[in-house]
């Protein structure tokens, strides 16, 4: 049983704090995805778990062992790098078996393990090749194979699919999910691809600026984002964020919106709020509170994405089912169920939903 625990983990490069106190519990067998914008510290955190970066303060435990001072090779982790990091001068066979060879595993055992891994990853026919003779997807398989044979407690992936094209990424994503099922090992996966995060994760960790913004299952994060950052980050297309009190009187009146949302009552009246509306929750309604001019129409067949600019020039996105016709410049109005709207206070914290 090898869960993983981070306790107020920090990392500074010189004076610059990069990871600013992360607490995290990962259960054995969980598939955890770190997401966040570029530079938020995802890779750094992963590399600290791997032992490739030292930990400025705090504690990382794998299983029930504190591993801060333990060498990477003894942590029971295996990592798949974005650049694959295959040893260019070795055959696929030797690449996969390198760790075992260094560990002094007898040749017969090693051979069996390498062939097992190759079978799992359907790359038996590639064993004699050099990395340079492989396609991107095949290299990725080899990199994963190299991780598998070591039978680690924890797999670490740093954007493993980002060098692949969209179709292959889809395939590999499914394979990773299957692998996770089959091996039942703990996996930590860094990505900034939302779809990967949403589809693979048991648990998503949203990071920003070296701070964990929220931890939860994909749907929890989608339905109940804890703050503006998570709301804007999870979900595609991005959530529409409308500021309420700063809004001048116009086609979208804050009065009208807030009336509908019953926000004018009590302590909240007059404070500046942000309203979050998922593009999918907008419905065309002739007298709806949000109206503006169509700027862009994207027809995907099953749905139609509209980019609409409101009277005060903020743009919102609406995703409508079906293939209704819209002309650019046409006026369109939307409403929404008050219960689907998310409200955030001026510090970006989530308030209980109205309605």
């Amino acid at each position: 049983m090898s869960g993983l625990t981070l306790r107020s983990v920090r990392k500074n490069y010189g004076d610059v704090p990069v990871i600013k106190g992360v607490d995290l519990d990962i259960a054995h067998g969980e598939f955890v995805v770190f997401v966040g914008p570029s530079g938020c510290g995802k890779s750094t955190l992963l590399r600290m778990i791997a032992g490739l970066e030292d930990i400025t303060s705090g504690e990382v435990s794998i299983g029930d062992r504190v591993v801060n001072e333990i060498e990477p090779r003894d942590r029971g982790v295996a990592m798949v790098f974005q650049s694959y990091a295959l040893y260019p001068h070795m055959s696929v066979y030797d690449n996969v078996g390198f760790g075992l060879k260094l560990a002094g595993t007898p040749k017969a055992v090693r051979d069996a393990k390498i062939r097992d891994a190759a079978k799992v990853l359907q790359m038996e026919h590639l064993l004699d090749r050099r990395p340079a003779q492989l396609s991107g997807g095949q290299r990725q398989r080899v990199a994963i194979g190299r991780a598998i044979v070591r039978e680690p407690d924890v797999f670490l992936f740093d954007e493993p699919l980002s060098n692949l094209d969209a179709a292959l990424r889809g395939d590999m994503r499914m394979e990773l999910a299957r692998l996770h099922n089959d091996l039942g090992a703990t996996m930590i996966y860094v990505t900034h691809d939302q779809i990967e995060a949403m589809t693979l994760a048991d648990k998503i960790v949203v990071l920003d600026g070296g701070v964990v913004q929220q931890v939860g299952s994909p749907l929890e994060l989608y339905n109940n984002p804890a703050n503006l950052f998570v709301a804007g980050f999870i979900g595609s297309p991005k959530m529409n964020l409308l500021e309420l009190t700063s809004r001048p009187e116009g086609n979208v009146s804050s009065a009208e919106l807030s009336a509908g949302l019953a926000l004018n009552r009590g302590a909240l009246a007059g404070t500046s709020l942000t309203l979050g509306l998922r593009p999918h929750d907008l419905r065309v309604a002739p007298n709806g509170p949000l109206n503006g001019q169509v700027r862009l129409v994207e027809r995907l067949g099953n749905e139609t994405i509209l980019r609409v600019s409101l009277a005060d020039t903020t743009e919102i996105t609406a995703v409508l089912p079906g293939q209704d016709e819209f002309a650019i410049g046409q006026t369109v109005a939307f409403d929404f169920k008050p219960s689907s709207a998310l409200v955030f206070d001026e510090n970006g914290r989530r308030l209980p939903s109205p309605g």
Binding site: A50, L52, P72, Q82, Y87, P88, L102
Partner: protein, 311 residues
């Protein structure tokens, strides 16, 4: 060539082929024109002298008077004369110093400063090590002659640390003169090798080292399985350059020992010069030059083969 295939009998099914390029002859002419300057220079300064040397090596000639055809006798002399054989042997002994020391030290330095590459330490080390390359060989040779002199820095140091029994006139010593010359050459070539190897090591993907650490590699394994194979090309260049520098050495020896004492530090380059211009044996000098060239080629070939990227 094009003409031949198009005029084949009709039995040959007509193939779709690109229209013959309009100025194919003109293009070829242009290509030759571009190659010509380099080729002419090469022919004039490499091929012609080479052919002349081969021709001279078959003569008995003092460089001024009548030349006499002498067959392969000069070659027989080169390959049987014990002095000449010792001189060739000296050159191969120099390879040990000129090649082994710079390549091994260069590798050690490169591996050591790999992780400090971005830092000032790396830059300083590289500059310091490359400095010998900038100093004219003559100056370096003279400086080292002083250091190796009986009252020079080397002996002073030995005395200072209580090893005065080791002190000697290094460059005049029958046993130690050749190693001393070798050290000078190693010092000169170290900069070049380090430079090449340090540059080469920066091209190796750092995540390979990280992957290896996770795979359980110790520093030695990293060196053996990542650094060494990753630097194969650069090591090849270093070995090639330094082996040639050793086998064809002249200047360092000429300045530091002039081949003495006896012929213990005489190398083929120096002997060729002496034979041709002092002893007026142009034929023998040329034969020795040709033999030296062949020896260099033979020594370099396996290195080239070994460092080629095998696909």
């Amino acid at each position: 060539m094009t003409d031949i295939t198009t005029s084949l009998p009709d039995a040959q099914p007509e193939r779709v082929r690109l229209p013959p390029s309009r100025g194919s002859r003109k293009t070829r002419m242009a290509a030759w024109l571009f190659v010509a300057p380099a080729f002419i220079a090469y022919a004039a300064f490499v091929l012609a002298p080479l052919c002349m040397s081969i021709y001279y090596s078959l003569l008995r000639w003092d460089g001024i008077g009548e030349a006499q055809f002498y067959g392969l006798s000069n070659y027989v002399t080169v390959l049987t004369d014990s002095d000449l054989l010792q001189i060739i042997g000296n050159a191969f002994q120099l390879v040990l110093y000129f090649t082994l020391i710079p390549v091994l030290l260069g590798l050690a330095v490169a591996a050591a400063i790999r992780s400090h590459m971005a830092g000032r330490f790396g830059t300083i080390t590289r500059t310091v090590l490359f400095l010998p390359q900038v100093i004219p060989l003559v100056a370096a040779g003279i400086a080292w002659s002083w250091m190796f002199a009986s009252t020079g820095l080397v002996n002073q140091t030995l005395k200072a640390i209580g090893l005065s029994s080791w002190a000697r006139g290094w460059l005049g010593d029958f046993v130690w003169a050749l190693p001393a010359v070798g050290i000078i050459g190693a010092w000169v070539l170290l900069g070049l090798c380090t430079m090449l190897l340090v540059t080469g090591i920066t091209k190796i993907d750092p995540s390979l080292y990280e992957a290896a650490r996770l795979d359980g590699a110790r520093p030695w394994h990293e060196f053996r399985y990542i650094t060494l194979p990753g630097l194969r090309q650069e090591i090849g260049v270093c070995i090639t350059v330094t082996v040639i520098a050793a086998l064809a050495s002249f200047d360092i020896v000429y300045i530091s020992t002039q081949g003495g004492p006896g012929i213990t530090t005489t190398v083929p380059g120096l002997e060729i010069y002496r034979l041709a211009f002092a002893h007026r044996q142009v034929g023998l000098a040329s034969a020795l030059a040709i033999v030296l060239m062949v020896l260099v080629l033979i020594s370099i070939a396996p290195v080239q083969w070994f460092t080629r990227d095998k696909k």
